[in-house]
């Protein structure tokens, strides 16, 4: 199968599975909280309805407001197509560099933050300010985890890192790897806007970070933003899964291998999402000015991961 076709299939898979993953997480939380909860496909119903509603642009807002959801979606799809979820052999080896992935995700965040400022409302500015502060403080942890992972293979190419892990289990089950996984997990919580950094289900504007930036969006703009957010969560959970549990990723582009890899990938995502949702039941959101402490803790874990990998290598 051509590499380009495989990339498109992969992006389509991530786009299709992302809302289902959100539905699954809501279902797990509901069961643990004693509720019946909605169906797994409910987020897809929400998206379908939103695409049919009319989009609204506030007066005083310009092209940045309408462009931001599209840019967010574009960066999410690009990363979903390029990252090694199904196969370690992608068509865009230049875009599957770990630093590039971090940069593209940050580009999406910036687009949304600028849109929040463009609305000219106080909540939009508040959301943008908080989101950019958290994004700035998460960067060191992310790049130190990249550092720790790149020592496995001497390169930051995602496909090479995953392939090295799949062929050599000893490279995956090291103390450095465990520390890097812990650091990256906390960073993923912050980037994806989940508890304890941000509560995606809150209605109190003063506790919002991500939601505050999208209070003004309606219709298909909102559909794109929600879909892209779900995709970003799937992308990050998928990266966490494939970097630290790399078995099941195909080494070639054979259709059968890809189909098997897709199944394993969905299973891994489901397990991680279930763990995250179950964990969220026990957590409360941290106050905004306690979040730097959490991120500093994850930074120390990342630093230990790098030093351990250098000393024990």
């Amino acid at each position: 199968m051509s590499a380009w076709v495989a990339a498109c299939v992969q992006a389509g898979l991530v786009a299709a599975v992302a809302p289902l993953l959100v539905g699954f997480m809501r279902a797990v939380r509901a069961r643990l909280e004693g509720r019946a909860g909605g169906r797994l496909v409910q987020p897809w119903r929400d998206l379908r309805k939103l695409l049919r509603k009319e989009p609204i642009t506030p007066t005083g807002a310009g092209v940045v407001f309408t462009a931001a959801p599209v840019v967010l979606m574009a960066t999410s799809v690009l990363v979903a197509a390029a990252a090694p979820y199904l196969s370690t052999r992608g068509p865009l080896s230049g875009a599957a560099d770990l630093i590039v992935v971090v940069g593209l995700l940050l580009l999406g965040t910036v687009a949304l933050a600028l849109a929040g400022l463009e609305t000219g409302t106080a909540f939009g500015g508040m959301g943008a300010s908080r989101e950019m502060t958290i994004a700035a403080l998460v960067e060191p942890t992310l790049l130190l985890s990249v550092f720790a992972l790149s020592t496995r293979v001497g390169s930051t190419d995602l496909g090479a890192i995953v392939a090295a892990g799949a062929t050599d289990p000893a490279a995956v089950f090291t103390p450095a790897s465990a520390l890097a996984a812990a650091a990256l997990a906390i960073a993923v919580l912050a980037e994806a806007g989940r508890l304890p950094v941000d509560n995606p289900a809150t209605h109190l504007e003063l506790t919002m970070v991500h939601e505050a930036m999208v209070l003004e969006y309606a219709g298909r703009d909102l559909a794109l933003v929600e879909w892209a957010s779900a995709m970003r969560l799937s992308i990050m959970l998928g990266l966490l899964a494939n970097l630290f549990i790399p078995w099941g990723v195909a080494g070639s582009l054979h259709p059968a291998a890809l189909a098997l890899a897709a199944g394993v990938f969905v299973v891994k995502l489901t397990v991680l999402a279930g763990l995250l949702a179950a964990g969220e039941v026990f957590l409360a959101k941290l106050r905004l000015f306690r979040i730097p402490e959490l991120l500093a803790g994850s930074f120390v874990l990342g630093l230990l991961a790098v030093i351990t990998s250098a000393v024990l290598a």
């Binding site: 695409l51 509603k53 009319e54 989009p55 609204i56 642009t57 506030p58 807002a61 310009g62 462009a67 599209v70 574009a74 960066t75 799809v77 690009l78 390029a82 230049g94 875009a95 560099d97 590039v100 940069g103 593209l104 580009l107 910036v110 600028l114 400022l117 609305t119 000219g120 409302t121 106080a122 939009g124 500015g125 508040m126 943008a128 300010s129 950019m132 502060t133 994004a135 700035a136 403080l137 998460v138 960067e139 060191p140 790049l143 130190l144 990249v146 550092f147 790149s150 390169s155 219709g219 298909r220 794109l224 905004l288 000015f289 930074f299 790098v306 030093i307 990998s309 250098a310 000393v311």
Partner: protein, 672 residues
């Protein structure tokens, strides 16, 4: 004849003509004449640089031009890179000046300012072209004096300009003295003042001499580059100078400090000891962090950009330090990558910083203010300027697909490389350096979201901003030129690869770091690649595709009032300001920034329990300036006052001083 020689000759000739024109021509056409001359000098310099990085080199010695030492010029690939950089920035600024300076004949359009502009550019071209110590120092001082005159262009405008000029003059001259000492010591120890002689004698110098020379030269050059803690002149001078001068200084002049460090450290002294590079790395780390933190909380747009320059210089110095350390550790391939990262970042920074300063100048000219808390709504009134500034901000924030991202990627690749033989120092220093680069990048993104979001988007926060009009075409053309260069470097940085390979091999600082880099950027010694072109195509293509799809599907868009929670219309007063946007970051880094707050409560005469007015003031002073420089200035003043007793006014006493000094020099000459 040698192409480099021709191009440089043309450049200097045009500079002379331009200076004359600036002095003589009437005010109506003065800006156009000086701007055109500056562009001419810039293009000629860039052409010289292009020839030099493509392999042509040139040496000449003109003994009769200067008494005692003569003028010696030597252009190699390294000099060519900086000639290209300075020439490019000058071309952009020249076009921009035509509209910016205007026809008033005052301030940036005065005779002095416009005559000095081409001379400043010529001096900046002379610095990399210098081939001997005396020529280098001459060019350096010429550059300092002309830039000082340009900084003071608007001195009638405000006292802040005069203070800025004073700080700049003092620190530049102090830096010059330090560089003079270092270079004179080097020339004396090497037995000759031409760079060729020094280069030959470099490896043979004793560690004390080379270490001392390196220390002195780095101090002087780092001060010119704006590295913290030698930076206090930079935010003042770059903020108070006219914006075209700020662009030249921030994008081109500070790079010549970097050039000096590369020339002395890598070329003339031939590498050297490990502690040099650790010191440089420490300087780089401190500059990067302090610079970006101050930029993040700055509300003055030009001060923000100036501190951002400090930050980028910090990253460049970090790259140079990494190059030196890897070369010491016997890893020439990675050393070459680090050097390439530093030089490419210098070029990228020149591109986006000149664009951003020109944009700040456009905003200042259109609204009369550069306070971000008073701007806003410019995307509707000045759409072309906003679009161009967005390109610059994307590059400055080091996000893909901007140009700053590629050089930052290169820098990270050089720092992430793990190799045996590094020792404990490298094991601890490398992750710290990566963490610093990452934090700097993160806070940098927040800074530029603040600058773009509060300065240009949403609604105007003051009447001045509400009355802005789009800039004249020449200013947009200058910015457009810079934007084109930024986009070119962002999408095909591979065009710079042969030049960087040549420089790295020429400096003996590494083997060709970027072999076979066409559309992709491939590294030697490191197994990572990146395709900036495909990233850009992917992002832009998918954005356009999704936008088209979104328009075709679904209902029509409606305009409505912003959702204000039901209670009354929103005013511009309710928008987030730059201060409020940066407040969470300022709180996180409270210990570094140490803001000072004053709350004044006035009570009515009747009762102290009632409040008539509350005034809240918050200042974010530059802590290093307050803790390091003010005591120093106070000490100097004290010494000066104490030394007054020497100057009583008695002629007999002064004659006695002169006699003593003469006798002392004669005795010293005889004894030695």
């Amino acid at each position: 004849m040698n192409q480099v020689a021709t191009a440089l000759g043309v450049a200097f000739a045009v500079a002379g003509v331009g200076a004359l024109a600036g002095l003589v021509v009437p005010a109506r056409v003065r800006s156009a004449a000086a701007g055109a001359a500056t562009t001419g000098v810039g293009l000629a310099g860039a052409a010289a640089g292009l020839c030099a990085v493509s392999g042509t080199s040139w040496q000449v010695h003109l003994p009769n031009l200067l008494p005692l030492a003569g003028v010696s010029l030597a252009v190699d690939a390294l000099a060519g890179w900086f000639l290209l950089l300075v020439g490019g920035v000058a071309a952009v600024v020249g076009v921009y000046t035509v509209g910016y300076a205007g026809q008033s004949g005052h301030g940036p359009a005065s005779r002095t300012a416009l005559a000095m502009l081409p001379v400043f550019v010529a001096a900046m071209l002379l610095v990399p072209a210098a081939g001997s110590v005396s020529t280098f120092l001459l060019a350096w001082e010429l550059m300092a004096v002309t830039s000082l005159l340009l900084v003071l262009s608007e001195h009638r405008h405000s006292p802040a300009v005069r203070t800025a000029g004073l700080w700049y003059a003092a620190m530049t001259q102090a830096g010059f003295v330090v560089i003079l000492l270092g270079q004179a010591w080097l020339a004396a120890a090497a037995g000759g003042e031409s760079f060729a002689t020094i280069r030959a004698a470099g490896p043979g110098l004793s560690p004390v001499v080379s270490g001392g020379v390196f220390l002195l030269c780095v101090t002087g050059f780092a001060s010119k580059a704006g590295a913290v803690p030698l930076h206090p002149w930079l935010p003042r001078a770059h903020a108070e100078a006219p914006s075209n001068v700020s662009a030249l200084m921030s994008a081109a002049m500070v790079k010549l400090g970097v050039y000096g460090i590369v020339r002395v450290g890598f070329d003339l002294l031939g590498g050297g000891q490990r502690w040099w590079w650790l010191l440089l790395g420490a300087l780089g780390v401190v500059s990067a962090l302090y610079g970006i933190l101050q930029a993040a909380v700055a509300t003055d747009l030009k001060r923000l950009l100036a501190f951002s320059t400090s930050e980028n210089i910090g990253l460049i110095l970090l790259g140079l330090a990494a190059a030196g350390l890897w070369a010491e550790a016997g890893q020439p391939a990675v050393a070459g990558v680090a050097l390439a990262a530093a030089l490419l970042h210098a070029a990228n920074h020149a591109g986006f910083k000149s664009l951003l300063f020109c944009g700040a100048g456009s905003v200042l000219k259109a609204t009369g203010t550069r306070d971000l808390d008073e701007l806003g709504g410019l995307s509707r009134r000045m759409p072309a300027t906003t679009a161009l500034v967005t390109v610059g901000a994307l590059g400055a924030a080091a996000l893909p697909p901007g140009n700053g991202f590629v050089s930052e990627w290169l820098l990270l690749q050089a720092l992430l490389h793990q190799a045996p033989g590094g020792g404990t120092v490298m094991i601890v220093a490398a992750p710290v350096a990566v963490a610093v680069v990452a934090l700097t990048a993160g806070v940098g993104v927040a800074t530029y979201v603040k600058a773009l979001g509060t300065g240009f988007l949403a609604r105007p926060r003051s009447t001045a901003a509400g009355r802005a009009v789009e800039s004249p075409r020449s200013m947009l053309a200058g910015m457009g030129l810079a934007a084109t260069v930024c986009i070119g470097l962002a999408v095909v940085p591979g065009v710079a690869a042969p030049a960087l390979d040549r420089i790295a091999t020429g400096l003996r600082a590494g083997s060709a770091p970027l072999p076979s880099s066409g559309v992709d950027v491939r590294l030697s010694g490191v197994a990572s690649t990146i395709s900036p072109l495909w990233i850009a195509v992917g992002v832009v293509g998918l954005t356009v595709g999704f936008a088209a799809l979104a328009r075709a599907v679904g209902r029509a868009r409606r305009r409505a009032a912003p959702w204000d929670c039901g209670d009354g219309p929103l005013t511009a007063r309710m928008e987030y300001t730059a201060t409020s946007f940066a407040e969470p970051l300022q709180r996180v880094f409270d210990n570094v920034l140490a803001p000072e707050q004053d709350v004044d409560v006035t009570h009515p005469a009747e009762s102290a329990y009632l409040v008539r007015a509350v005034q809240y003031r918050r200042r974010l002073p530059d802590r290093i300036e307050a803790r390091l420089y003010r005591p120093l200035i106070a000490a100097v003043e004290k010494v000066g006052r104490a030394a007054r007793v020497l100057a009583t006014g008695s002629v007999h006493r002064y004659l006695a001083y002169m006699l003593t000094a003469l006798v002392a020099v004669l005795v010293a000459g005889v004894i030695r």
